[in-house]
């Protein structure tokens, strides 16, 4: 077998599209920029947990960062952590939780790198109070392809700081970053979950919630009187001193791809009905470890393989409050009408905490995230329809979860894109960028 053969196919989490590239791991900061300069472009990639093609570069060089995994310093008084950018949030939690500190923002998986979290300016269940990840990274270092090292913060090179947060990895390699952790006294989360039917009820629950974390699961299959039913989940770190050391971690990796027929309308409908009624009473509350609360899907490593060989398409948008719940109703109607069941749909209210990132995705309003199996014609047609509704209601889509946004839509969603593009490293690119900038 020739070298690199198995690594030519570096896959993003959605496993679509599949684009050939040369994959080279970085082990030390000095491995960048790579010595052999070729005309092909490059892109730094962490865990590859973004769904579509922001972490892909057809026929380019992917520089993998997860071996840049060293901690640099930690201030046990203030909770300020400095680490190399390939450190994952899972590694940070393993280090910090026993010391009484927690991530400022947790996405739906802990298997992402700090560099990726900054580049996609990720958000979590506490967006309504804490904003995005970039708000909690006061300082980081960017290395450009010419070798220039730029320390970026709100006061030092502030334009490059703003361009890199949410800059989808195109401004250069983030080599290290500071993360401002938040204190906890227990691993436990005090949570409450409530059934709802309809978007009005969801919005009312979100507005009434005073807790740090909130999110809802929403059924995108049920129609009629069950339309937009779901479970609203809120929680906060337990304030009573409790366990900080980790529990045994059973992990179940899906060792194979399920056949494509495993996810169809009836199996997903049945799953959703069961999930909804798992909630036997209208409201439940209790204490749980943070792992199942924040990262339920991480228990099944490689759950993306549930979608079979073809992969999956993910869609996430945010719609501003201006249209109230009208736009979201349109989206949900289009999804239920399509019959393309989504295994898991998540809906959340974003807050108005402003990110320092120029190209950050969140805005005040409601965000919806869900995935679809890839069925030729229908899936892409549906995503076009959802993008059109998003555009019509003044919202935007999330590059980290996208594989098919058109250039016209991207440029409408992010009208600042041209001012931002001047900060792109001349040797960096991604397949996403080539598409949405109209370069492909």
């Amino acid at each position: 077998m020739p070298p690199h053969q198995d690594r030519l196919q570096f896959e993003s989490w959605g496993r679509y599209p599949r684009l050939p590239a040369e994959v080279r791991p970085l082990y030390w900061k000095e491995d960048f920029p790579p010595p052999q300069v070729s005309s092909a472009k490059m892109l730094a990639v962490g865990m590859g947990r973004s769904y579509g093609d922001v972490c892909l570069l057809q026929n380019g060089t992917l520089l993998r960062t997860p071996n840049l995994d060293r901690l640099i310093s930690f201030d046990a008084q203030t909770g300020l952590l400095r680490c190399e950018a390939g450190v994952t949030l899972a590694e940070i939690l393993d280090f910090a939780v026993p010391r009484g500190w927690f991530l400022p923002v947790s996405p739906g998986t802990k298997y992402v790198t700090v560099g990726g979290a900054i580049a996609n300016d990720i958000h979590g269940k506490n967006h309504h109070v804490a904003g995005t990840f970039g708000l909690h990274t006061p300082c980081f270092e960017l290395i450009r392809s010419d070798g220039t090292q730029i320390v970026c913060s709100a006061t030092q090179n502030p334009d490059m700081y703003a361009a890199t947060i949410g800059g989808i990895g195109l401004t250069g390699l983030i080599s290290w970053a500071e993360v401002q952790m938040r204190p906890i006294v227990s691993r436990l989360i005090r949570y409450q979950s409530t059934q709802f039917v309809g978007l009005e009820e969801f919005v009312a629950l979100s507005r009434a919630s005073t807790q740090e974390y909130s999110v809802a699961w929403i059924d995108c299959v049920a129609q009629g009187r069950n339309f937009a039913r779901g479970i609203f989940i809120q929680g906060l770190h337990d304030e009573n001193p409790g366990p900080l050391t980790p529990l045994a971690k059973p992990k179940l990796a899906l060792p194979f791809d399920l056949p494509d027929f495993a996810l169809n309308r009836s199996s997903v409908g049945a799953f959703n009905t069961l999930y909804y009624h798992k909630q036997i009473t209208k409201q439940r509350s209790g204490l749980t470890d943070y792992e199942p609360f924040f990262y339920p899907l991480d228990r099944i490593l490689q759950w993306n393989r549930l979608y079979g060989q073809q992969g999956l398409l993910q869609f996430q948008c945010v719609l501003p409050w201006a249209s109230d719940t009208l736009g979201m109703t349109e989206l949900l109607k289009a999804i239920t009408a399509s019959g393309l069941a989504s295994f898991l749909a998540v809906i959340k209210v974003f807050g108005d905490v402003v990110s320092p990132g120029m190209m950050s995705f969140p805005m005040p309003g409601i965000t919806l995230a869900l995935d679809f199996p890839i069925r030729r014609e229908v899936s892409f047609a549906l995503l076009d329809r959802l993008a059109a509704i998003t555009a019509e209601f003044g919202g935007r889509m999330y590059p980290a979860k996208d594989a098919c946004m058109s250039a016209a839509h991207f440029q409408q969603f992010y009208p600042q894109w041209e001012q931002w593009a001047v900060y792109i490293d001349p040797s960096f690119s991604s397949s996403f960028w080539q598409r949405v900038a109209g370069l492909a």
């Binding site: 070298p3 690199h4 030390w28």
Partner: protein, 253 residues
């Protein structure tokens, strides 16, 4: 054999401290408040590793920049390590090169350089450390060898020979100083995802450095002599060693 103290090893000398297996092993020890002396060639990399260990809880980390090929400079470095650490509980030898087999077939100097780094320089370290531990009447000497030392294969027999020679040397040293309470551990990893193997395709047999590190620490705790890591390499190599030479010479591996 008496059981190890729960705090063992509290003082650790690491030769080749920027190797992935060494780093993964040290990280697991750092949480236990150990003291370290790290030796490797690249000062920037050593500093990065030292900061990482200190952040993770190491009590002290000293670094010493040198090329371990320079055997004449070994005694000075080793004496300094013994002095700075007070006493050495564990010496982990992890430096080594895979080398370019095809180049080594064509040019003896290249073969000799591989043998020097993997075997001769290690013998120099082991001579000093063996005597040190024997005098101390305790401690552990853990040396990263390889399953490649179990049989000579056309794809990497120069590397394999350096590790095979090392295995014999370690066996003899163990025979000499085990009776003084010194553990001599031969570590035989299979395929590990490290910079050494970054150029080859990774299959299901590849282990992470951390999996190997866990195995090393367990083997030290249990005072083992030889550890195949991960464990399934014991069975793989048992089979490979059982292939008759007349058959083995015709195989492509």
């Amino acid at each position: 054999m008496p059981k190890r103290d729960p705090g063992f090893p509290s003082s650790v000398l690491v030769l080749g401290a920027t190797s992935s297996i060494a780093i993964a092993t040290m990280r697991r020890l750092a949480a236990g408040n150990s003291r370290f002396m790290l030796v490797a060639r690249h000062s920037d990399r050593l500093t990065a590793v030292a900061q990482d260990l200190l952040t993770r809880g190491a009590a002290t980390v000293d670094i010493w920049v040198m090329d371990l090929d320079d055997t004449a400079a070994h005694p000075e470095m080793l004496a300094a390590a013994a002095e700075r650490l007070g006493k050495i509980d564990l010496a982990l030898i992890a430096h080594g090169v895979l080398g370019d087999q095809q180049a080594a077939e064509a040019d003896f100097e290249i073969a000799a350089a591989i043998l020097h780094t993997n075997f001769i320089s290690t013998v120099s370290l082991l001579t000093w450390l063996g005597n040190y531990f024997q005098t101390q009447r305790g401690g552990a000497l853990a040396v990263v060898s390889s399953v490649a030392g179990d049989r000579g294969r056309k794809s990497n027999y120069v590397y394999g020979a350096s590790k095979g020679a090392l295995n014999i040397f370690l066996e003899g040293l163990r025979n000499r100083i085990d009776r003084d309470g010194v553990q001599v551990l031969t570590i035989k990893p299979g395929f590990v995802a490290t910079p050494m193997t970054a150029h080859v395709a990774h299959n299901a047999l590849f282990a992470t450095p951390d999996q190997v590190a866990r195995g090393i620490l367990k083997a030290i705790e249990r005072r083992r002599d030889v550890a195949y890591l991960p464990w399934f390499w014991f069975w793989i190599m048992l089979l490979v060693r059982a292939i008759p030479g007349s058959r083995f010479k015709k195989m492509n591996m």
